[in-house]
Amino acid sequence: MDGKETIISVKNLKINIALDEGTLTAVRGVSFSIDKGETLGLVGESGCGKSLTCKAILGINDKKCSTEGEIFFDTDAEGEVDLLKLPPKGEQIRDVRGKQISMIFQEPMVCFSPMYTIGNQINESTRLHITKDKKKAKAISLDMMKKVGIANAEKRYDQYPHEFSGGMLQRALIAMALVCKPKLLIADEPTTALDVTIQAQILELIKELQKDLQMSVLFVTHDLGTVAKMCDRVAVMYLGKIIETGSVEQIYHDPKHPYTKGLLGSVHKIGTKKQERLFSIEGTVPLAMNLPSGCSFYDRCKDRIEGVCNVKEPEVLAIESNHTVSCHAVSRTIKGGSSIE
């Protein structure tokens, strides 16, 4: 891609969940790639399959989920490998998990075991992946704790999670994720549970460390504000599909898909003149079971074309370089676009 080094490319990822009621198709053919040092934002509402996609990359989804597709990752040892083909408990994937790709989770308060000290838990990763030497490992872990801005790291190392505040725990979690200097960091709603002032601190921290370590970041969130601050490119998901991708500028200033427009319109921007009403998308996200044919956004869409949108699923359409949309209405208005599969 443009001569840039691609770290990971996900191709046509599908995830089915077997439930008692039937099969729920949570992710329905998601494709994206991330370059070295780049931040991709994955945006969407709850239940659209963001988290499942992330977990599929690490192969840590529940047993009930069956995954299809390809995830090519540029591993240290063997170059490009399809992560989905690796045995989920094998040595190879374990060398990737936590070392080359690591993940920060939404709620730092539930991610740590209350029974072990913070230092102990950060060290777990260090000792597994970097060195078996206890003293060296502790030094590396402490160093990382200092880097993420935990004051008094030596004292904090021996403390338990309940002695940390939410913001500090998130820092500790980031330290744990970054201690092995991963190539790719998956941040799944890393600041949703935090207060604004703390959120700003954490976002800045992730950005700084990203520069330091030359990491790529997959930033998953439903908060359009943080995406604008953090990401280079954005992929908008709706009901298990990416419906629009583009650079942040393209998505925020020139959104094409009705859903993206609606999503952006429903966020009030401080400092703009007061609108009486917020723009809102009608209806609610349908259940991803027995989806109707055609575009999954059809019921809620303002620009729907009867006889087209509810019949055929829209194809991915490239509008500009890096800006793609899947929407019949858009492809009708824009003639210059070419359809790619």
Partner: protein, 332 residues
């Protein structure tokens, strides 16, 4: 007759246990005019929710008064009225809760949930009338009335929040305390619920106290906003004045941390040192001085008085007059 529908005066709430006492709300005062929306913002643990609960008498306040002017023009201290009067006035002040998943009884049908406040407040009302009123209000908040016999689990988050709103509205209250009513909802659903709250306000002449940590939502819905820090009100002003020209350093820092959904707006954050102190052991002097970038020696010792600096602007800061703080620029 008072100009205000509600006057909160020197409200205190102290939680005590055997070992420690925590001042959750300290000396909070403000007034609300009929039909307006007051936003209360602050970070977690600053006492927003406790304040809201004290006002509706969900938990007893330690001291202070909440003067409520009823429809007949009489003013009562809502915190000190007797049981009978309380029963009569309860229906006027209702609350909408944060979490639409845990605030609805899973074993009651939606119709029963919406009807319940009527049963409690109007014991003489006939069953049919109650049902009629419940259905009427359910339709008003946009619930499909043919689904009212179902149980809460069958509804989505946004729908549940509508049930919560319907339940609060069924007694035809005059004032509603909304405690983070949209925080648990998705963005597109948030907008729906906020629009609904605004429409209902217009229709029914409601007055809202809107408690939230989400500054952009508060800015959108409120006429006036109060900022709380560690149990104290630090600033109170009209929305646009507060957001464009904050007068308390904490407000400034809070505003500068908000990520705006526009990549061209660069975040120029005013760093806050450290974290929110433990409310059980607050710092001396001004509670905020340890994290403030403008503090003087005086701030360490003397707690600043919360006072009206200008018409309609109340601030608790020693340097409020001299500081020139940064907010959002409102351009047309």
């Amino acid at each position: 007759m008072s100009d205000y529908i509600l006057q909160v005066k020197n409200l205190h709430k102290v939680f005590t246990s055997k070992k420690i006492s925590v001042k959750a709300v300290t000396d909070v005062s403000f007034n609300i005019v009929q039909g307006e929306t007051i936003g209360i913002v602050g970070e977690s643990g600053c006492g927003k929710t406790t304040l809201g609960r004290c006002i509706v008498r969900g938990i007893p306040a330690t001291s202070g008064s909440v003067l409520y002017t009823a429809e007949d023009g009489e003013t009562y201290d809502f915190l000190n009225i007797d049981r009978n009067k309380l029963k009569e006035l309860r229906k006027d002040i209702q609350m909408i809760f944060q979490d639409p998943y845990s605030s609805l009884d899973p074993r009651m049908s939606v119709l029963d949930i919406i009807k319940e406040p009527l049963e409690a407040n109007f014991p003489d009302m006939s069953k049919d009338e109650m049902e009629y009123k419940a259905i009427e209000i359910a339709a008003k908040v946009g619930l499909n009335t043919s689904y009212l016999k179902r149980y809460p689990h069958a509804f989505s988050g946004g729908q549940r929040q509508r049930i919560g709103i319907a339940r609060a509205l069924v007694t035809h209250p005059r004032l509603i305390v909304c405690d983070e009513p949209v925080s648990a909802l998705d963005v597109s659903i948030q907008a729906q619920v906020i629009n609904l709250l605004k429409d209902l306000q217009k229709d029914m002449g409601l007055t809202y106290i809107f408690i939230s940590h989400d500054l952009s939502v508060v800015e959108h819905i409120s006429d006036r906003v109060g900022v709380m820090y560690l149990g104290k009100m630090v600033e109170f002003a009209e929305t646009e004045a507060l957001f464009s020209k904050p007068m308390h350093p904490y407000t400034e820092a809070l505003l500068s941390s908000v990520p705006v959904a526009d990549p061209t707006v660069k975040m120029d954050r005013i760093p806050l040192k450290g974290e929110i102190p433990n409310p059980a052991n607050p710092p001396s002097g001004c509670y905020f001085h340890e994290r403030c970038s403008y503090f003087l020696d005086k701030c360490k010792e003397v707690s600043p008085e919360y006072c009206e600096i200008r018409q309609g602007r109340e601030v608790a800061c020693h340097r409020a007059e001299e500081l020139d703080l940064r907010g959002f620029s409102y351009d047309e």
